[in-house]
C-alpha cells in the first residue's frame, strides 16, 4: 500500500468561476460548460440556424407563387421601391446601433448600452410602421390576403418577418427596463449580445427579402 496521499480534485465553482465561456472576455459570471463555450450562445446560434429553415421555406413558397396572381393586381403594379429602400436603410442602421450597444456593454458603459438599445428599438419601430403603411396601401389597392397565391405568400413572408421585428423590439425594450432596474444578475454583455444576434438575424433576413421580393423583377 502506498502512503501517497491523493489530492482531491479541484472543483469549479459554478458562478464565481472566471470567464471561460468562449463568450469573449466579457463575463462577470462565466458559464462553465463541458465544451468550454457559452451554452446560451450555442443555443442562440442553433436557434438562428433553425430560423433559416423557416424563412427558407417561406421565401421558397413566395418565389414559386410570385407570378401566380391571375387577373388580380401583381408586384409590378404595387412596389414602391424608393419607400421600401428607405425602410430597408432604417433597418440596416438599426443593426449598426445594435452593434454599438453590444460594444458599449462589453466596455461596461451601461448608460450608452441603454441609449443604443433604445435607438435600435425606435428604428425597428420605424421599420415596422413603414411595413404597416405599405400593407395598408396594398390592401386599399385591392391586394387582400386571399386575393391570389402571390398575395398570400407575400403577406405570409413579410408578415412573419414583421412579427420577428416586433418580438425583437419587445426584447430590446425589456432588456432596457431590466438593465435600468438592475434585474440582470448574470453576464450583462452576453445578454445584450444574445438580443443583438437575434436582431442582426432579423436584419439579414430582410437583406434577402428586399432583394428577392422587391428588387428582382417578377
Amino acid at each position: 500500500m502506498s502512503d501517497t496521499t491523493i489530492e482531491p480534485p479541484q472543483t469549479v465553482e459554478p458562478q464565481s468561476a472566471p470567464s471561460h465561456d468562449g463568450g469573449h472576455g466579457h463575463s462577470d459570471a462565466g458559464h462553465q460548460s463541458t465544451t468550454g463555450i457559452s451554452n446560451t450562445k450555442l443555443a442562440m446560434w442553433l436557434f438562428l440556424g433553425s430560423e433559416c429553415l423557416l424563412f427558407g421555406g417561406l421565401i421558397s413558397t413566395y418565389m414559386l407563387y410570385r407570378n401566380r396572381q391571375g387577373d388580380a393586381i401583381g408586384p409590378d403594379q404595387l412596389w414602391d421601391i424608393p419607400f421600401t429602400s428607405a425602410t430597408s436603410f432604417v433597418l440596416l442602421m438599426s443593426s449598426l446601433t445594435m452593434v454599438l450597444a453590444v460594444s458599449a456593454a462589453k466596455r461596461k458603459e451601461e448608460r450608452n448600452t441603454r441609449l443604443w438599445l433604445t435607438v435600435t428599438a425606435l428604428l425597428g419601430g420605424l421599420f415596422l410602421a413603414g411595413q404597416v403603411y405599405e400593407f395598408t396601401v396594398f390592401y386599399r389597392e385591392g391586394l387582400g390576403y386571399t386575393t391570389s397565391l402571390f398575395s398570400s405568400s407575400f403577406y405570409t413572408l413579410t408578415g412573419f418577418h414583421g412579427v420577428h421585428v416586433a418580438v425583437g423590439i419587445i426584447m430590446l425594450m425589456s432588456l432596457v427596463g431590466m438593465l435600468a432596474k438592475g434585474r440582470i444578475v448574470s453576464d450583462k454583455a452576453e445578454t445584450v449580445e444574445m438580443v443583438g444576434l437575434y436582431w442582426h438575424f432579423v436584419d439579414v433576413v430582410w437583406i434577402v427579402i428586399f432583394t428577392l421580393v422587391y428588387l428582382i423583377p417578377a
Binding site: K41, G49, S50, F89, T211
Partner: protein, 118 residues
Amino acid sequence: MSTDIHPTDTHPTDTVTHDEHETHAAHEVSDKQYILIALFLAVLTAMEVAVTEISGVPEALLIPSLLIMMAIKFFVVVSYFMHLKHDAAIFKFGFYIGLGGAVVLYAAMLATFHFFIG
C-alpha cells in the same frame, strides 16, 4: 488576459477557450470600424436600388449582380456585426448547417415544382 487563470483549475478546454479569448481580442472591431462597415452596407443597398432603377440593364446581368450584392451584405453582417468570423467554429457550424439546409430546401422546392409543372 491571464489574470483570470486559476493555475490549479486545469480543464481540458481551458487552453482552447483562452486562445479563443486572445484571438477575439486581437480581432476586436472598434466603433469607428462598425460605422465604416455600416456605410459600406448602405452604399451597397444604394447600388442595388440604382441597378434596379436603371432601365435597359439585361436580366442576365441584373439578377446575378443583385444576388452577389445581397450575398456580400448578408455575409458582412453575419461575419462582423454578429462576430461569426472570429467566433468559435461550433457556432459557425450550427448557423451554416441551417443556412445550407435552407438553400437546399429552396432548390429542392423549385426543382420539384419545375418538374411537376414542366
